[in-house]
């Protein structure tokens, strides 16, 4: 095991879309501050067609340096991002590279690690050193267990970090800005356009404070109505998990979780018949009170819920209707 390596510093790969910095980027600054060793610098890399435009957005406390790397495409194209990250790592020789665990990262982070043989793990929510050994913690088996992974002999470790775990820094700063030139590579996967999903419903899940959400457990489309009535009765906004929206039983605008609308204002969440896919759990765990109702006592959702009820959701819906009148 190489306990002392020449590599030093933490490199954060910023994420942006349509000219805006993705908020997960700043969470990584806090993650970096938590794990960095004495004297290690934290650098943020901005990769894009006009990376200078994002400098002010990442000029926050905890960032020592900003490096801009210009590539030919304004939006995410994996070959260009990978070439830029390769060049940045080559030039800076960091010990840790942090990337948000985002849809973009799904498309390039593992490619960089596999190609170069860097230490790698994904969806990490805790990072620390035990002596000289870097330990990353992630979930396993549908988040029912935690797994500590290590990277013996790896001078560079690339990690994708789960969102909503670290609070972004609030104070601004004026870090040094430099630029790095990236070798030109052909882009085999090219960005064409963004398409906003049609607003099929006037509901704003991002503003809802109390959401009653339904999942696969409702069985069939005809049963949606029963839970809509229950939500109305309780004063909740009706939401759903991905399979319900995919099946078209409720509009996509009602889907909550990571790939659905971010239910950022939600304080009370009643999940009925939702077993809890990883993205759903990750997208809802900021909610202070989660009540999970599921007939399957082994459902993953019970590991993030504050209260759990093992019951038939239809009987429960009837009982809640009756008692709330």
């Amino acid at each position: 095991m190489s306990s002392t390596s020449a590599n030093s510093g933490i490199l954060i790969i910023a994420e942006h879309r349509q000219g805006e910095l993705r908020p997960a980027t700043l969470e990584l600054v806090t993650a970096a501050q938590g794990v960095r060793r004495a004297g290690e610098k934290v650098a943020v890399a901005l990769i894009g067609a006009a990376p200078q435009a994002l400098v002010s957005a990442v000029s926050v406390a905890g960032v020592d340096e900003i490096v801009t790397a210009q590539v030919s495409a304004a939006e995410f194209e994996p070959d260009l991002v990978e070439a830029a990250v390769d060049a940045l790592i080559e030039a800076r020789k960091p010990s840790i590279v942090l990337v948000p665990h985002s849809i973009d990262a799904f498309g390039y982070a593992a490619a960089i690690a596999a190609k170069k043989g860097y230490g790698f793990s994904s969806d990490v929510f805790q990072i620390e050193y035990h002596g000289d050994a870097l330990i990353a913690t992630r979930g396993g088996y549908g988040q029912k267990v935690n797994i500590e992974v290590e990277f013996p002999g790896q001078p560079i470790v690339l990690l994708t970090i789960r969102g909503n775990v670290y609070k972004p820094p609030e104070a601004t700063a004026a870090p040094a800005v430099s630029s790095l030139s990236v070798p030109h590579v052909p882009s085999r996967v090219r960005s064409l356009e963004f398409i906003e999903p049609p607003p099929s419903d006037d509901v704003d899940m991002t503003a809802a404070e109390f959401i009653l959400s339904i999942g696969r457990g409702i069985g069939e489309e005809a049963n949606v109505e029963k839970f809509r009535e229950l939500a109305d009765k309780l004063g909740a906004t009706l939401g759903c998990s991905r399979p319900i929206a995919d099946a078209g039983w409720l509009p996509k605008s009602r889907q909550v979780g990571q790939s659905g609308k971010t239910a950022s204002a939600c304080k009370l969440y009643v999940a009925m018949g939702i077993s809890g896919a990883i993205q759903h759990l990750a997208g809802m765990k900021h909610v202070s009170t989660i009540i999970a109702i599921n007939s399957d006592a082994a459902a993953s959702i019970f590991s993030v819920a504050r209260y759990g009820v093992v019951a038939d959701i239809f009987e429960m819906a009837d009982a809640l209707q009756e008692q709330s009148s």
Binding site: F106, G107, N146, R188, S191, F302
Partner: protein
Amino acid sequence: MKILVAVKQVAALDEDFEIRADGKDVEAEFLLRDLNEWDDFALEEAVRIKEASTTTPVEVVVVSVGPEDADETLRKCLAKGADRAIRVWDDALEGSDPIAIARVLAAVARREAPELLFAGAQSSDHAFAATGIATAALLDWAHAAVLTQLNVTPGARTARFRRELEGGLLHEMETDLPAVLTIQLGINTPRYASLRAIKQAAAKPIEVLSLADLSVASEAVGESGSLSRVRRMYIPEKGRAEMIEGSIEEQAQRVLAIIREAAGGAA
């Protein structure tokens, strides 16, 4: 045209389970195995391309890295429309991370030379979202993740697709072929296999390959071929809800009380 679909036999945990004596995984007897849900959508997408192609024949080959019990998952794929199934196993694969698995998948892809390699965007058990894209890197192929729509004409040199971003935004992109594409839930509606197809699949052969068959060194897989190593697995302390017991009426009463209290500020 050939489409290779990488599938994983995932493991879900029983309600009660125990961590293995070495503290690095769950005891195998508490694991319930099934085809990874994302891979079911990936297979369906491949079979639909095959069925829609009237002029160019399309072959769909499924591959899985796993011990003999993964045959069950491969038979399920054959019943759902895959033409051939390949399983790769060697005891040296124990302890492999997604990158070590990707080395095997890349070797199979070199042997099969498909135009497209599909994988699930992630697996339901460990959710690395890494294996497919790592395989692409080892092959030096174009790659894209989390597709919710794909338009490919057999024989064409490019394909168009949409990937679904955070908050539901869609990104339309174009890729050169060959490519590795990882598939998101909802891209299609996977079919159920008919009883007849299940019976037929039971009689179909599954090609079993060793690392030697693929010229993959045993050091390239397992812990030595991985980019991370499990140090410890444990059950998180506060990872369990306070369970509300009692009759359905009693449970409902308590749920309503919690809702009223929490909704005091919320609703």
